[in-house]
């Protein structure tokens, strides 16, 4: 079985007028199936470029990127779109749900672009299944503005999962959430990871990164640290601890 992500001497250079910006200056990274990787780094470190490339939204300037054995560098725009549709689930910082559109319709969205097309009944069934996985099986007909931030992010995760991707790609998934909700979302990620889902997540918060199994730190377009997380946090335990603390000050029943 090939690794899910295999980057070899990946470089990305942007041209802004006369000046060449070397966003990524040679990265080797391999992510095997079932890993949970947190990518960290200050802004300008090249982590966004790395994520865009991993997400097949962009192609390397030089070097190769194999996603699940497919050489991404050779693909055209529409082929990239198909690859994203089949192999990658995206979770964004700002949720990016369609407003005034029900949760289940939002979750059905990736199936709209699935080739061959998914029958409508099958779409609804899979959307419900996906929503149930993130604990929102009862809220399918709610629109985003009727849902809390955490619930909206869960809908976004359900949307990312609905096409059974090989890779879940999360860009600052807890950036817009409070600490407790962040832990809940990390709980979902850990649970999915336990079920075999490969996850790559960008974050700048150290304590969020501690829910992953492996951290990759970038600086100036290079990977400076790549190590397993020691003393990985368990979202389940953290939540239990929080509940106990809140009970102590009568915040929770």
């Amino acid at each position: 079985m090939p690794p899910i992500i295999e980057l070899r001497d990946f470089k990305k250079t942007y041209k802004t007028g006369e000046i060449e910006v070397h966003a990524v200056r040679g990265v080797n990274l391999t992510v095997q199936a079932g890993e949970f990787v947190a990518v960290m780094g200050a802004s300008g470190s090249g982590k966004s470029t790395l994520m865009n490339t991993i997400g097949c939204l962009d192609r390397p300037t030089s070097g190769t990127y194999l996603l699940d054995g497919v050489d991404v560098g050779r693909l055209q725009r529409d082929q990239l779109a198909d690859l994203r549709n089949q192999k990658i689930g995206f979770v964004f910082q700002g949720f990016n749900l369609l407003s005034r559109t029900s949760a289940s319709e939002n979750v059905e969205l990736p199936m709209l672009y699935r080739r061959p097309p998914v029958p409508a009944a099958e779409q609804r069934r899979r959307a419900l299944e996906s929503l149930t996985k993130v604990g929102l099986g009862q809220r399918g007909d709610h629109t985003p503005n009727q849902l809390s931030g955490g619930q909206q992010q869960r809908v976004a995760i359900a949307r990312a999962l609905v096409n059974t991707p090989k890779l879940l790609l999360a860009d600052e998934p807890t950036g817009n959430l409070d600490s407790r909700t962040s832990i809940e979302i990390m709980g979902i990620f850990q649970e999915l990871n336990r079920g075999g889902m490969t996850i790559v997540m960008v974050t700048h918060e150290l304590d969020v990164a501690r829910y992953a199994k492996r951290t990759v730190v970038m600086r100036d377009g290079r990977i400076v640290t790549d190590q397993a997380v020691e003393g990985m946090s368990s979202a389940q335990e953290e939540l239990a601890r929080l509940d106990a603390e809140q009970k102590a000050v009568n915040l929770a029943p």
């Binding site: 529409d78 779109a81 005034r100 559109t101 990736p110 097309p117």
Partner: protein, 405 residues
């Protein structure tokens, strides 16, 4: 993504912003309604003219006698009596395919019955006249060839004249005085209504043209002869033969202007409808301009919509929409806007033309082809004016679009 899904997607997007959708459609609605109602008025006018031309009779060719010039002023065709009774007989005998021919001698005369008086147009015609004009009798009988030959004092009376002189009582068999000569009424015409110029065709009395020449009009010539061909296909041939015959009889050399004028019913009808057609085209194109303005309105709103929904487009691209999918989504939105607007416009236009026909007292005809054209052009407008915004949306870079605030 299949087309049906694109349509559903477009309709859902339009429903999300109902007020804006309706306002955007308004341009197309008004444009289409304007085109439909203007064209329906034009069609109605044309139908009316054609119906009136048809009252002239079927396959009729009109021969008008030549015009006379007095001091440089042309008095118009029919002012000089160049057509005579021998001409009429020659036409009957020598031209093939002639069903019947009738001259018309007009004399505006004083009529009297009992103590009732009327000033009425008395037309001297042949026995063929009623057949040529497809004018049935309501009572009594037509006069005969013998009556024509003998210049008998018989008359057929029109509905309006009959009402004036006789009221509701029977006219047939009664005797009226035309210019003090007693005429026996042998027939009563069925009502025919107004002609193109709006004058009452039923205010008339028909007498044998011989009697009219002898007792009412004087002279020996006719202002016109109506000739009926036996079949529509024979009309051009008959027209040609009439021309040859009359040129020969009137000794007109080749290349000289004849002293008569031959017009087929079709030619008369063409002249009469061309004015209304020009007007319809003119007004229709003004209305068409408003359709284009409506299309520009759609393009404007679609451009705004693409900018507003940049992030949505980014998400769609990220989760696997192809360029074509995004293109179709926005193109179908524009088409849905213009087509739904077009349908509403057709309904509104039909309603307006219905109301207009009531107000103006003339019929309007909403033709199927004008509906099809309006529908087709609104769909075309959607495609044309939706294309650029859709292209703009489809060409967005997913990374840029996702970062768009």
């Amino acid at each position: 993504m299949i087309i049906l899904a694109s349509i559903r997607l477009a309709l859902r997007a339009l429903r999300r912003n109902l007020l804006r959708t309706l306002l955007t459609m308004l341009g197309i609605i008004i444009g289409v309604a304007a085109v439909i109602s203007v064209v329906s008025i034009g069609n109605g006018a044309k139908k009316q003219v054609e119906a009136q031309i048809a009252t002239l009779g079927q396959n009729v060719i009109l021969v008008l006698s030549g015009n006379v010039s007095r001091g440089g002023f042309s008095m118009g065709f029919g002012s000089a009596g160049t057509l005579t009774q021998p001409d009429l007989e020659a036409i009957r005998k020598e031209v093939e395919g002639v069903e019947g021919a009738s001259p018309e001698v007009r004399a505006f005369s004083q009529l009297a019955y009992g103590n009732q008086n009327a000033n009425v147009q008395v037309s001297g015609v042949s026995a063929d006249y009623l057949g040529i004009r497809a004018w049935p009798l309501k009572a009594g009988e037509n006069f005969t060839e013998q009556d024509v030959r003998g210049a008998t004092k018989v008359a057929i009376i029109g509905q309006t004249t009959k009402k004036t002189l006789f009221g509701d009582s029977d006219a047939v068999g009664q005797s009226i005085r035309i210019k003090n000569a007693p005429f026996t009424i042998v027939g009563e015409l069925a009502p025919k209504g107004m002609n193109m110029m709006g004058s009452d065709q039923d205010d008339i009395v028909l007498v044998p043209f011989t009697s009219a020449l002898k007792r009412l009009a004087g002279g020996t010539s006719f202002r016109s002869i109506s000739v009926q061909a036996t079949d529509a296909k024979l009309v051009p041939g008959v027209q040609h033969d009439l021309d040859d015959l009359l040129r020969q009889r009137h000794k007109i050399q080749d290349g000289r202007d004849p002293d008569f004028l031959i017009r087929t019913q079709q030619e008369i009808s063409n002249v009469a409808t061309s004015t209304s057609r020009v007007l319809t085209v003119l007004l229709g194109s003004v209305a068409g301009v408003s359709l284009v303005v409506g299309g520009i309105g759609i393009m404007n709103i679609m451009l705004v919509s693409v900018t507003e929904r940049t992030r949505e487009i980014g998400v769609r691209l990220a989760i696997g929409a192809r360029t074509r999918d995004i293109m179709m989504q926005f193109l179908f939105e524009a088409i849905a806007l213009s087509v739904i607007g077009g349908i509403i416009g057709i309904g509104l236009g039909a309603w307006i033309s219905g109301r207009l026909s009531g107000v103006m007292g003339s019929p309007t005809v909403v033709a199927a082809n004008s509906i099809l054209i309006a529908f087709g052009s609104s769909a075309l407008i959607g495609i044309v004016f939706g294309y650029f915004p859709a292209l703009k949306a489809a060409r967005l870079d997913p990374i840029e679009a996702l970062r768009f605030e």
